[in-house]
Symmetry: C2
Subunit: 136 residues, 2 copies
Amino acid sequence: MKLQELETACSKSGLKMTGPRKTILKVLVEAEDHPSVDEIYARVKAVDPSVSMATVYRTVNTLDELNLVTKHEFKEGFARFETNTDHHHHMIDVDSGDVIEFTNVELEALKEKIAEELGYELIDHNLELYGRKIKD
Amino acid sequence: MKLQELETACSKSGLKMTGPRKTILKVLVEAEDHPSVDEIYARVKAVDPSVSMATVYRTVNTLDELNLVTKHEFKEGFARFETNTDHHHHMIDVDSGDVIEFTNVELEALKEKIAEELGYELIDHNLELYGRKIKD
DNA sequence: GTAGCTGCAAACTCTTTGCAACTCT
DNA sequence: AGAGTTGCAAAGAGTTTGCAGCTAC
């Protein structure tokens, strides 16, 4: 999702496009990783030092509720965020902390099948793999 | 895993079988749900009111490190625990908070395949489905 | 003009930890 | 005896919130 699109989506949802908000959106769109609030805050500060941590928290939570960003809670004790792209899952490198994205068609089908068998309508789901790189 | 087995496993690992520890183990073994620390604490208190929250935290963490219990971090802001049984996954009912366990052979195979393709040795993983019950 | 947004600081929740006393083995 | 364990209270991390002032629309 491009910055322009994101801003439009926010406006449509009734959000005011304020300075802090624009900066945060820009940081999120440009992020190629899965930054934590601390990391987002640092990147935002580099552009506009007046923005507060509270605003970063409020903004990412609002965006999450609007489904414009996705909040991830890996087993680290804090949340990470990314702008919504295609649906994918994560392999977390337990040594380096690297997060590798992957998609898998079979998995998407399988998860629907499992939910159906349990009598549930699927709203959200996530598969996290924790692994160690095989040396070659 | 039975209480007896768990206690033996703890002793083998060099843990002393103290009063608080025994009570916590008993509560964990008898739990048929996935209790949070608060819930474990309440159940332990009902048996022995002198046990502290700190001890519950220390104990479940120790047991988790020994792989005698599994710590789950669903998207709720706190951890849940259960004694180790066969490997399974969870469907979380977003309306009631109920946690339904399920196993799936295809999934186990698929996750290994994915890890291999990414060049990783799988250490841990979890699939969480969040859904809403289909009325019938 | 006004509803919504912001910064600040305080508060909150969950969890961890330092320490002196205590207890299994 | 001695290492491990405990309760207590304080501290820690991450996150949320009340409020008065500010800003986009």
